[in-house]
């Protein structure tokens, strides 16, 4: 048995993704929807602080949502 083979056999912890393949589309849909809602809030907000907060929330939700969406359609990035 080679050295790496022995290490692999000894390791008990398998890699687990944050969301399994079956959950990728629902997660992506939820994140993109939240992002769009936050975008709507951003467009009507008058207060600079709430505008900034909604921009951060929308871009975070859309950013993570985009990654899960592209994975959900079969382009595994």
């Amino acid at each position: 048995m080679s050295s790496m083979e022995a290490v692999y056999a000894a390791s008990k912890e398998s890699f687990e993704p944050i969301f399994s393949k079956t959950l990728q589309f629902p997660v992506a849909a939820a994140l993109v929807t939240s992002g769009l809602l936050a975008t709507g809030f951003f467009s009507v907000s008058k207060n600079p602080l709430s505008t900034l907060a909604s921009a951060i929330a929308a871009s975070t939700a859309l950013g993570f949502g985009a990654v899960y969406l592209i994975c959900a359609v079969g382009v595994y990035v």
Binding site: S2, S3, M4, E5, V7, Y8, S11, E13, S14, F15, E16, P17, F19, S20, K21, Q24, G35, T39, F42, P48, T51, L52, A55, I56, A58, S59, T60, L62, G63, F64, A66, V67, Y68, I70, C71, G74, V75, Y76, V77
Partner: protein, 485 residues
């Protein structure tokens, strides 16, 4: 306020870029670990002799598989740990692998390295390292197995559509060894008993079914070549030859997926088709399913769990494929658009996905180890002249190390840009020559470090992009464009 926002935006955008600069740089490693350098005047010291030697040549595949089983005795007065195997210079480029092991003892597999000494010499050598030096007058049962490609010739070179196919090959009657041999035999195993021509004159030979046995030959020296043997035998299967194979193994942590794509450039290296192809005659003959020299079906066993399987060629999707899978096995049957006769070519692509957790383990810290089959080609007897296996790791993976039992010609760690990448994904590209079907199931191990922040790079780049759009929109919306107040 505006300067604060712009400062914050710049800082956010610079976050992923600062991580990118720490990503893997390109480097090259060669297969020098498989070589041993000796002086130009090197000749193997005469410290061994073979008490008995049996050479078995298997010609039932599209490549030659030769096994030398010998009782080796140390005739010197000191312990010896290096055994040298001579190979003619013109054969070196055709060698697929050379493996050696202790057949009866408990020493297991021996390390085999190519000797680099004088390129102009007609005989080159491989060094077999015995892990435990062989004491004087002590015997060792050594088994050497070597495979070499491009050793057969179609004879005749062209045949009609329904004719039988015959192959021929030549080999010396004595084993190529660097030490004297007291007694040896050469056994040739054909695919079936239809061997219309083989050397009978001037040499002791017996035929039993599909096996020809030449010898015994006694008291032979290393310089003795013996007689050149010629064997012409029927070969009922197509001679499948892949001139090139490109295999991509793509790891996605975000998708939890292992994507594999194999691109083959295949040719039938058997007897060429004499005259035109008759579809009517082909369809009629298929009713009886006779042996044929044409490639009409390839069976590719996959690891259970393969999904999203596809089979395409230059035209597009090939619908004449069948994929069957259950918990224990997964088999992909490929039927090309037309039967591939001798001299014809066909290039195609197959691809499939696996669940990443079945192949990737987490080691200590931020280290991961991947274990994948190096080759997963057709189960039919095949030879691949040149294979390029590229393992595409996630973007930002560093500290890449790999290991496999297959002799690799060269390896390179680099970068490859594809969807949603900024600097590109870390890749390991392995080049292997003269791949034979026996290597199916050999594993490739790759370890790499994937820091937490590098894992966040992809979504963070998107987040920064969206945030930029929001801020620009906000700034543009805040500009007072009224002419009069």
């Amino acid at each position: 306020m505006r300067s604060v926002l712009l400062g914050g935006l710049t800082a956010l955008l610079s976050l992923p870029l600062s991580v990118l600069s720490a990503s893997a740089s390109s480097s090259t490693t060669s297969a020098n670990d498989n070589e041993v350098h000796l002086p130009e005047t090197f000749t193997p010291p005469q410290v061994f002799q073979h008490t008995n030697l049996l050479r078995t040549i298997d010609i039932s595949k599209p490549y030659l598989r030769e096994t030398i089983a010998a009782i080796v005795e140390n005739t010197s007065e000191e312990s010896q740990s290096e055994y040298y195997l001579p190979i003619p210079k013109d054969q070196v480029g055709k060698i697929s692998y050379i493996e050696a092991r202790d057949k009866k003892g408990d020493l297991g597999e021996f390390e085999v390295k190519k000797v680099v000494y004088d390129d102009s010499k007609s005989t080159q050598y491989y060094a077999i390292h015995l892990p435990k030096p062989l004491a004087p007058s002590t015997p060792l049962t050594l088994q050497i197995t070597l495979a070499s490609t491009h050793s057969h010739l179609a004879d005749p070179a062209s045949i009609a559509q329904s004719d039988k196919q015959y192959l021929s090959f030549k080999t010396p009657s004595l084993a190529r060894v660097a030490y004297p041999t007291l007694k040896q035999k050469t056994k040739i195993t054909a695919p079936n008993s239809d061997i219309p021509d083989y050397t009978k004159d001037g040499v002791e030979v017996s035929k039993s079914g599909a096996v020809l046995t030449y010898g015994p030959f006694t008291e032979t020296k290393p310089s003795d070549k013996g007689q050149l043997l010629f064997v012409r035998h029927e070969y009922t299967a197509p001679v499948i030859h892949m001139t090139k194979l490109e295999r991509d193994i793509e790891v996605s942590h975000w998708g939890g997926n292992l994507a594999i794509e194999d691109r083959y450039w295949m040719e039938n290296a058997g007897a060429k088709l004499d005259g035109h192809f008759s579809r009517v005659q082909w369809v009629q003959s298929q009713y009886y399913k006779p042996p044929t020299s044409a490639i009409k079906l390839l069976t590719v066993p996959l690891t259970p769990g393969a999904r999203d399987v596809y089979f395409t060629d230059e035209i597009g999707n090939v619908s004449t494929s069948r994929y069957r899978s259950n918990l224990r096995e997964a088999t992909l049957e490929l039927r090309p658009r037309f039967p591939i006769f001798g001299g014809w070519n066909y290039s195609f692509t197959i691809g499939y996905n696996y669940e990443l957790p079945s192949f990737l383990k987490k080691l200590e810290g931020e280290k991961f180890m991947l274990k994948v089959p190096l080759f997963e080609g057709p189960s039919d007897s095949t030879v691949v002249d040149e294979a390029v296996v590229r393992v595409v790791l996630p973007e930002g993976a560093t500290g890449v190390q790999w290991e496999t039992t297959v002799p690799v010609e060269s390896a390179e760690v680099g970068l490859w840009k594809t969807y949603m990448d900024t600097v590109g994904r870390t890749t390991v590209e392995l080049k292997v020559r003269n791949v034979v079907d026996e290597w199916r199931g050999r594993e490739l191990f790759v370890t790499y470090e994937y820091p937490f922040f590098a894992q966040l790079r992809k979504p963070l780049v998107f987040v920064a992009g969206f945030f930029t759009v929001f801020i620009v929109t906000w700034i543009v919306g805040s500009i007072d464009l009224n002419i009069a107040k």
